[in-house]
Symmetry: C2
Subunit: 453 residues, 2 copies
Amino acid sequence: MANKKAVVVGAGLVGSLWAILLGKRGYQVEVFERRPDMRRSEFSGGRSINLAMSTRGWKAMEQAGIFEQIRAEAIPMAGRMMHSTDGELTFQPYGKKDEAIFSISRGGLNEALMNLADEYDNVRLHFHKKCRKVDLENNRISFVDTLHNEELSIESPLIFGADGAFSAVRSAMQRTSRFNYSQQYLEHGYKELTIPPTADGGYRLDKNALHIWPRGQFMLIALPNLDGSFTCTLFLPFQGEESFEQLQSDEQILNFFTRYFGDAVPLMPDLIEDFRENPTSSLVTIRCNPWQYQEKVLLLGDASHAIVPFYGQGMNSGFEDCTILDQLVDQYQEDWPTIIQAFNTTRPKDANAIAELALRNFIEMRDLVGDPMFLLRKKIEKHLHQKYPNEFLPLYSMVTFSHIPYSEALAEGQAQDKLFDNILAIDNIEQNWNSAEVDQLFHQWHHAKANQS
Amino acid sequence: MANKKAVVVGAGLVGSLWAILLGKRGYQVEVFERRPDMRRSEFSGGRSINLAMSTRGWKAMEQAGIFEQIRAEAIPMAGRMMHSTDGELTFQPYGKKDEAIFSISRGGLNEALMNLADEYDNVRLHFHKKCRKVDLENNRISFVDTLHNEELSIESPLIFGADGAFSAVRSAMQRTSRFNYSQQYLEHGYKELTIPPTADGGYRLDKNALHIWPRGQFMLIALPNLDGSFTCTLFLPFQGEESFEQLQSDEQILNFFTRYFGDAVPLMPDLIEDFRENPTSSLVTIRCNPWQYQEKVLLLGDASHAIVPFYGQGMNSGFEDCTILDQLVDQYQEDWPTIIQAFNTTRPKDANAIAELALRNFIEMRDLVGDPMFLLRKKIEKHLHQKYPNEFLPLYSMVTFSHIPYSEALAEGQAQDKLFDNILAIDNIEQNWNSAEVDQLFHQWHHAKANQS
């Protein structure tokens, strides 16, 4: 390509990262972002929202060259800390001894990525630029400068839509023929709350865990921030017996929290105020296909596959889009029609798989983590993984601590379900969880699977 | 309701029917249609496209009071007539001796419904009115008169969106919070072709059957028209080995038809011309939820549930929307908030069920109808239905010849699949299809099902 030019729509996590990876290759990259520059605006030091970075995300950080910088500010969470109704704590490790997911600040990460993008002379970030029109046929995209109310328009041989779940680039593609699209909302909403640091800046809960208060149809979670605080998120149905709709008065809110999250209430001095001031947001899964328009427009991240947050893979999967696409750029030596086609042929099925896994994990987090049979299965999974590290990798580990394509992880997880149907049916499995019979069933299963493939 | 007023958007089959049913109740109904009045335009006598009316549709015709009129022009099709590659014919009845689906003209039916609506002084049809904006909050809807390029706007306590798969009313609802929506296209397209009448106005094929040329990944079908012609539809992948993409030259088209539909070629003297002139259209399934906006806007027909045509239930399900809604109007005595809520609570699951069944039936029509095991199952189904008419009703009959809610038909069909898994596994089932063993399995299955419910 004589003319190495690209437009990236959106300077969020995925857009900023992709601009860096294109910048490294010497592309002239113009990035257009609807919002103000978060590094200058008053929101910069505002409410900290955190994300869980895992193996797929870290790979992208390495590729961008800021692994060390981000890792230095990340808080490892080695497992789930379950809070029972009477305040009893149970810890479930996520993986092996040295494996963890990491709580990081969304804003901090985004700013770091923007700063890195700014270091490339050939990458330019434009803020306050709201996408107004995408002329797919002519590779032309128009923006309104919302500060000066001016229009601008740019033509580019490559346009990347990294403009999130309500993507303007995807909207234009939705009007083309035979574009498959779906948006599905959960009946649950979420609201963020805060556990502030102690007076001396310490943590009020174990900071190296993801805290969960699983309550069946709903749950509270908490992730640590660097400043000693935790950001809590309440996931609750919008309507019904226990729901946001039922939490109107201060008394109703306090009664609800006292009843279900009794040990958390003393940790949240601003509970009522936070609850009233913070918005109740919805949770959507977005799927579409194709992700490309001809050989010049491609969607990345939430724009093509927004997922619910319950597997902690929203950002990680968006970042993996970038690392996979970057590999394809190497593999096909910047032959963009082939690269875009190859990406669109393989990646959507992985996005569909993690969308499905994320929906299922909501049930696991809010309900199953308190179920004795589920806990027993986890124990046996760990046992099998230790005994047969190459033959058995639990689903959670495949998703979180590996680069195995999500669709393969999903398929392997379904195969594992069949194995555990048999294992958990063993007489007195509670006592016999590490018996020879378990091993025998595992070997039969593994053998049958090997013969199939 | 002191003020009995309603707006219906769309004067297609469902919009016209619903205007009639409201008109009968004395409502002041304003119907706005984007297209010209088909009764006056030159398209009136144009290409006849036909539809298969079955039991659910006929009920709506009765309720509207035009059963006799429409039935007089309908052509009964008592079964499928399969055409093998070498021209051999096999007839599969759809149901019992007196059961049939009926080929009717879409245009003729739509005109008859419009004429009937026009007979009500309190129903007014407005043509050339393109919906421009729906202000859901204020019950106000704006149209552009495309003939005079004028705007008009109307407020109504009730707005019904019967404006088809690409509904403007639904588009407005899509922008409200937590609106679930999906549009899924098949990889197949379709093209209409014609078998003209004989020189003396007769039919070139048996007119009392729906003709199918099943060829695995694709198929041709033909439905009779009143004038002696048949409207044929070719369903074929857009891309791939055998696909629309591969049919470019006259020679390619003719070779394809000669190879796969040899006995149909001599019946289609204008095949090449028709193929070149008629559009290749796509096939979409549209699902959404909710169908209502508050208690004043409701979607009907394709606007909320466009389905693929393979079960012949698109029009029938849209008409059933109207008959069910009409029953709710009686039941709740014009208490519209309750009516709309009740409709939205029960009907979408039936729409989802027929969407699913229609997708599956494509595989049945294009592929399975030529499969000996499938034909054997059909034979046993018929046998069981004759022997136990109250205990066993085949899925096709539930959908086509009954008013059983589609979702119940789907569930019963899934239960029947399990029965037939066992029956078809009987040794030498080809010989033993009416053996005591089949009866025994049926009784076990029926007994287990009765105990469950």
